[in-house]
Symmetry: D2
């Protein structure tokens, strides 16, 4: 069986890498470049969009041609225009997948889709993180060992305001004493969403082959199927009224 | 063991009953009056708030003194001020329960907390609805039989854009050929949310003793516990940074 | 990207078709033959095993070479040997997928994996069943419309003793007034399990193209990934003791 | 509102305490005595049953008068008679709550209800465990802080063969580098089940006031409601056939 390549758009805020030499040292061409290489190596078709492009690179045509959107942001969540957030939300509800990375838990689009502040506890001391697989049967765990280790990471800890995922795939252990639900799957409308917390601008985490494997897996998992009903877009566009019963009432 | 009474605020749009004789016939003192009587008979302390009051009756002091908010709206969802929606959302994330009734699936507050349009299929032909209990062990099913029947109801059907609940308690059968997930439980932040779809302004559904029982059960289930951590409010108010590790790093 | 064919074993009790002309009329070569044709057309590699073979056709070598086992039984659940049930359960926990069809809800293997009696309400009057998709984003809903209809079906209804699924994909509406959670996904150990209730020996339901599509989808969804940890088999075989900490204790 | 006291039966294997001075030092009257005192102080009515009594103290009359059964076992899981396991399982499916503690994850009754081996990784080095609350809104988290600490504990770690819970309430951090889903809620039939892993025979964990609080909370949460349908017992006893449709078929 042959499978069509997944069409991925990587959205990167892309400011850290241009402003901060410590970030540039790890990601000279931008975090998106490292992610793009990993996704292309896995057979995906990749385009990139960034904050400072017109419409943040997320015009309607780009979104319409995107199966899965990967989102990285940190410094400038509030600079993302609400009209673009509205448009991305609608595409997710209509079936586009969304993979939300690290500090993008506080992005407007993730908060919009989750209904909460999505705040987490955090500490930046470069401590050890160990990512445990707790649902090995899940597609996003494909090819992984029981756990993998990040020698230096930012701590994200419980309690968090991110809602409990439909399926919890990863739990992280931190050297400093915390745990975090570091990978989880959600559905909103017809769109599948995966949040994965490891990844940081001043550590080379996105170069780690197993972190890349998780992101590739998440993209494949989130790609839409070919369900032929038209529920969400349909019901939004006035189709929500079904005047005639399917069965006779008397 | 004695349990403190749950402090309930019933929010009612309260326009139908004043404008439409057909609605007034069933609910001469407002839908809220029927719900208030049922909740008071069950030992709750009840106050009422309506759209046309200042701040829609939902000032900060009222919300602070509310354990569970019950919400009914239909005609005028867009007339609810965003500042009030913001305030209610924060209280839910901090632990206030929320019981969302019938057409309030399209209320701003429910859409905000769910992250979707919350659209449903619908038809208003007064057909028969049968509400099946599918999770009898759930507290919201207490005191119910296997199913109960509403002789005339508005159809709400699948597909819907309301996210799948964490716990599905009721599924409705409709005479015209549809099904609907008519009762489900959610958690957002520290707040517990129950959506229950039966209930309509031109049918006497809120007079049905088992419908009242469900609403009483949902209010009791949604009332906050006395968890003493301060996660959500705390992390929103700047406490999300935990500078020192709980364990020594070396 | 090319995907390896899924290796499917269809287990059929295969007694109805040999004993009852009404069943033989629909399934002259056995229910398994219809399912095998559909799965082969979808690119799967299929073998068949039946009750009256030695070890019911489920020796260790067959199971070791099976990615997904499809199970149909009705008359003779108790004739399945416990040693074979033990063996199938272990393979599921080690990662083999399991697709359980219709009356196999009372099979020993499904009861074993669910922990309950798995009883359902039922009625055999040939009434209309309408299968609604409630989670269109799920892989098992791929290629389906909003609902499809079976003109004559056996009613399976709530309440049921089958546990709530991790993900509910289908809900059925029955002409006679019932609803049923007719398709749901479970994980046990590393194994993924899908239960799908439509299908009956005296109706031609397994000839329906959309029923076949669901079964193909379920097989693809249940196929194991290549997670490289060895948790379940490993911990069963004495590896559950991890004597040395990963981190120094002082 | 007044609430009836929950009728609890604590089942304790009760061999460690009689055989091993190190265990007796912490639990001179048996682990059950410490648990009983905590539950009685919380208003429960408590009886005790142990392995070496006739029928292990779990005759039909005792079970019929039990709302919630608490289970502790470790050395002698296989000594529990299958007929007693059958009887307990039926009572759970009919609505009795079950709270499963620590090493009882491998008890016959828990394995029966979960459908897996319920194996976990473990290490007994007396390391620090920190129990994090990840679902503060859950009734079992009532009265707890964000986390609490056990200075010396047995490590239970992922991966585990215990199925993912319907609601995950606690995650434990271990000093030696592991995490574990240490508290989770399940429903089987009409029965509610809570598994809580902290607790060990050679550490005084059941004397910890917050551990006791969790067990009291779990017992209250698991107590049956007064749902008046008769689904599970009913459908087991031949009521699963509903010959007449609720709606006319033509």
């Amino acid at each position: 069986m042959t499978v069509k390549p997944v069409r991925v758009t990587i959205w990167n805020e892309y400011r850290h890498e241009r402003q901060d030499p410590a970030v540039r040292a790890h990601y000279p061409a931008g975090i998106h470049a490292v992610l793009a290489a990993a996704l292309e190596a896995a057979g995906c078709t990749v385009r990139v969009a960034t904050l400072d492009e017109p419409e943040h690179g997320l015009d309607a045509a780009t979104l319409a041609a995107t199966d899965v959107l990967v989102w990285w942001g940190h410094l400038a969540h509030e600079a993302v225009a609400d009209t673009v957030v509205d448009r991305v939300q609608q595409r997710v509800l209509d079936g586009m997948g969304l993979v939300v990375l690290h500090s993008a838990h506080e992005s407007k689009i993730f908060r919009r889709l989750m209904g909460t502040t999505c705040k987490v506890m955090w500490r930046e001391r470069g401590e050890r993180e160990r990512v445990w697989v707790v649902q090995p049967a899940h597609p996003v765990a494909a090819g992984l060992p029981e756990y993998f280790e990040l020698p230096q990471s930012e701590m994200y800890g419980e309690p968090t305001d991110i809602p409990a995922p439909d399926e919890l795939v990863f739990i992280s252990w931190f050297q400093g004493g915390e745990v975090f639900r570091s990978g989880g799957a959600y559905t909103r409308g017809r769109g599948r969403i995966f949040y994965f917390s490891p990844g940081h601008e001043t550590f080379p985490i996105y170069h780690h082959p197993l972190v890349q494997r998780v992101i590739v897996n998440a993209v494949r998992w989130a790609a839409p199927n070919d369900f032929s009903g038209a529920p969400v877009a349909g019901i939004r566009q006035g189709g929500a009224h079904r005047p005639d019963p399917l069965e006779p009432l008397d």
